[in-house]
């Protein structure tokens, strides 16, 4: 307990060293630098043995090949541009999307323990993926349904949206959505989706089961450049649009009645949060499978550094989320090279102890 208090005090103290009113901007700057550094460092990580110092040569060679297409590309070039670079871009997009979605959810539910999964996006996407993998062979027998294939991605994306819409509708009451009901509906629907996935797992053949299993553990390795760019655009748009919700979310933190009295259009705000979260998390989950804990952890750390003002927490969570996913993925693809560890396992292994720490500190506060 004492170490925890000291750690929190230490972090807060560290942040307190920064000039007061502009603390948020300093934190964002620091996170931006961290992202750049992580990106550069991760570019040199990988099983292929293409370290950072060889990259400039590879880039130069690629430049040459671009202008004189007759030349043949070296293996290093192919590895970097076809395999590593799309993964890096996807890592940044996924991390940013999950991070900002987590911050939006925590602002919406007014609870630092909230997570995008509460509105059912992840479980909806997983259920749709299970559906596609197990029963999809009936409709698309020629198409292999594993991570990264278009039918699977589209089904997962829309599955996430449909379940979110269901939970949102369930929570509608007279006078708007009731956040408490949304939470409970989310828990119930998540459980239902879990049961559905269990049933589909039972019906699955060995091959389908393995495909589903690996999809649910999450990986950045299965995405085409087209998909990566789509997810990147969605993530960018979400972060930009979310920024406009920052001040209203601050007001919402005082309480719903208070926010209404301050002139905040609370129902529109809730819908916007949910819609943005569903879109970005749906897109990310469709291409990478389920990656957990980023949406929980990133906003919390940013809040510890920069304070609870959403004007800093929203973009900060996006930056920090990107950093976390980049680092976790670098680890995932080098730890047991030449094999690869699913990303979801690493985020869970690091995320669960952190979450428990969070619970303890949240509990400690209320004492």
């Amino acid at each position: 307990m004492n170490t925890l208090v000291m750690k929190r005090a230490g972090l807060a103290g560290l942040a307190g060293l920064l000039p007061g009113p502009r603390r948020g901007s300093w934190v964002l700057l620091g996170l931006g630098v961290a992202l750049l550094a992580s990106l550069i460092w991760s570019s040199g990580q990988g099983a292929f043995g293409l370290p950072l110092r060889e990259l400039p040569a590879v880039l130069a060679a690629a430049f040459t090949t671009y202008w004189w297409p007759g030349a043949e590309r070296s293996a290093a070039e192919l590895v970097f541009f076809n395999i590593r670079l799309p993964r890096l871009v996807l890592a940044v997009a996924a991390g940013a999307g999950l991070g900002v979605a987590g911050a939006l959810m925590q602002g919406l539910f007014r609870n630092p323990l909230a997570d995008p999964g509460l509105i059912g996006v992840s479980s909806g996407a997983a259920l749709a993926a299970a559906f596609a993998i197990v029963l999809g062979s009936l409709w698309w027998p020629e198409v292999p349904l594993a991570l990264g294939t278009w039918p699977l991605m589209l089904m997962a994306f829309f599955g996430g949206l449909v379940v979110t819409a269901l939970i949102y509708t369930l929570s509608l009451g007279d006078g708007g959505t009731r956040v408490g009901i949304m939470l409970l509906a989310g828990i119930a629907i998540n459980a239902l989706a879990g049961a559905g996935i269990g049933l589909l797992s039972y019906l699955a053949t060995d091959e389908q089961l393995r495909n589903l299993q690996f999809w649910m553990l999450g990986s950045l390795g299965g995405a085409l450049w087209e998909a990566v760019l789509v997810v990147g655009l969605i993530a960018l748009a979400t972060v930009a649009l979310a920024q406009r919700l920052a001040r209203p979310l601050n007001a919402l933190a005082l309480g719903e009645a208070q926010a209404v009295m301050l002139g905040v259009p609370v129902e529109r705000l809730k819908l916007a949060c949910i819609l943005l979260t569903a879109l970005v998390v749906g897109a990310v989950t469709a291409t990478t499978g389920i990656i957990g804990f980023i949406g929980l952890v990133a906003p919390h750390i940013v809040r510890l550094l920069a304070g609870p003002d959403h004007r800093w927490v929203l973009p900060g969570s996006a930056l920090l989320g990107a950093v976390l996913v980049l680092l976790a993925d670098a680890w995932a693809r080098t730890m047991i090279a030449p094999a690869e560890l699913p990303l979801g396992i690493i985020t869970a292994l690091v995320g669960v102890p952190f979450f428990l720490l969070l619970l303890r500190s949240a509990h400690a506060r209320t004492l």
Partner: protein
């Protein structure tokens, strides 16, 4: 090894060309020899990754294990295969991981993936060959021929295949000549500790059928958990399983202690030792080069019950 020979030849050539008049020409010749030698060396023994235990077995059977730079997690036979770098599970390969081993050819069972990774390998100029598996003798033919093509030893592959086909014909004749009652058998898999029975469209079902037995639980496809009632209704005389499953449930004693089996005829004959037959998973279900000899052993085990 051929490269060292070439190096020595080059060194000799350079030495021999100490005479000034011939130096330049000799050097050029030596360099050309070295380059073509290296290319030829790689063409003659391409670096190979196999994904699938039966494919790895075939490569070893052809004596080409020196070319093997990586195998998947199911490649456990022969024992030397376990020492090669492991590229992970066949359905969750890593493109960069595979490319890090600098392969020329990747030989994989159909169903390996994810599909994007295979695509990325091809775009990196790695030859990717997928081998179909339909749980029949032709699997072995496809496996051995593919291994022959990938290792550049097609002639040796043909020889091996001819020998295996002779063995296969003999064993099949033996099975078909058997005039006794058709053994009633089923296959149990318990790698995770909880037992599943094999229905239709599984490798186990194919093996039982080829061995002249009747799979008494062929009413469904794939693997299903045991229930006592279904076991009693199925009433198998012999139970076939993998050695790994047996170990997972705690040996034959642990196996027979399972309540679902208590109502089967096999259980009543458990002390005879012939009611339970087991074999290594890869050998039994891999449909690799050992198919014929494993089938013979299976048939003998089934009819002994």
């Amino acid at each position: 090894m051929s490269q060292t020979v070439h190096l020595r030849a080059t060194a000799a050539a350079v030495d021999a060309a100490a005479a000034p008049a011939l130096t330049r020409r000799a050097c050029t010749l030596a360099l050309v020899a070295l380059a073509t030698g290296a290319a030829a060396a790689s063409a003659r023994s391409p670096r190979l990754i196999t994904v699938g235990g039966s494919l790895t077995e075939a490569v070893f059977a052809l004596g080409a294990e020196a070319q093997l730079v990586g195998t998947d997690t199911t490649s456990l036979y022969p024992v030397a295969a376990q020492a090669t770098p492991k590229v992970g599970y066949m359905r969750q390969l890593s493109a960069e991981g595979l490319l890090a081993l600098r392969p020329d050819v990747v030989l994989a069972l159909a169903g390996s993936g994810p599909p994007l990774v295979l695509q990325q390998l091809r775009s990196a100029r790695v030859q990717v060959e997928l081998v179909e598996r339909r749980h029949e003798w032709d699997d072995v033919r496809r496996t051995v021929q593919a291994a022959g093509r990938a290792t550049g030893r097609s002639a040796a592959a043909q020889d091996l295949l001819r020998r295996l086909e002779q063995e296969w014909t003999r064993v099949r004749a033996q099975v078909q000549a058997y005039r006794g009652p058709t053994p009633r058998a089923l296959f149990i898999m318990a790698h995770g500790g909880s037992p599943l029975v094999a229905g239709g469209q599984t490798a186990a079902h194919a093996m039982l059928t080829l061995a002249g037995a009747r799979n008494v639980v062929a009413g469904f496809n794939g693997f299903r958990p045991l229930t006592a009632e279904s076991m009693a209704a199925a009433a198998p005389d012999v139970i076939v399983t993998t050695t790994q499953s047996l170990q997972a449930v705690g040996g034959a004693e642990g196996f027979w202690r399972r309540p679902e089996l208590a109502l089967t005829p096999a259980w009543q004959r458990r002390h005879s030792g012939a009611a339970l037959w087991h074999q290594d998973a890869l050998a039994l279900l891999g449909f690799g080069p050992r198919l014929a000899q494993v089938l013979e052993a299976l048939h003998r085990g089934l009819v002994a019950a």
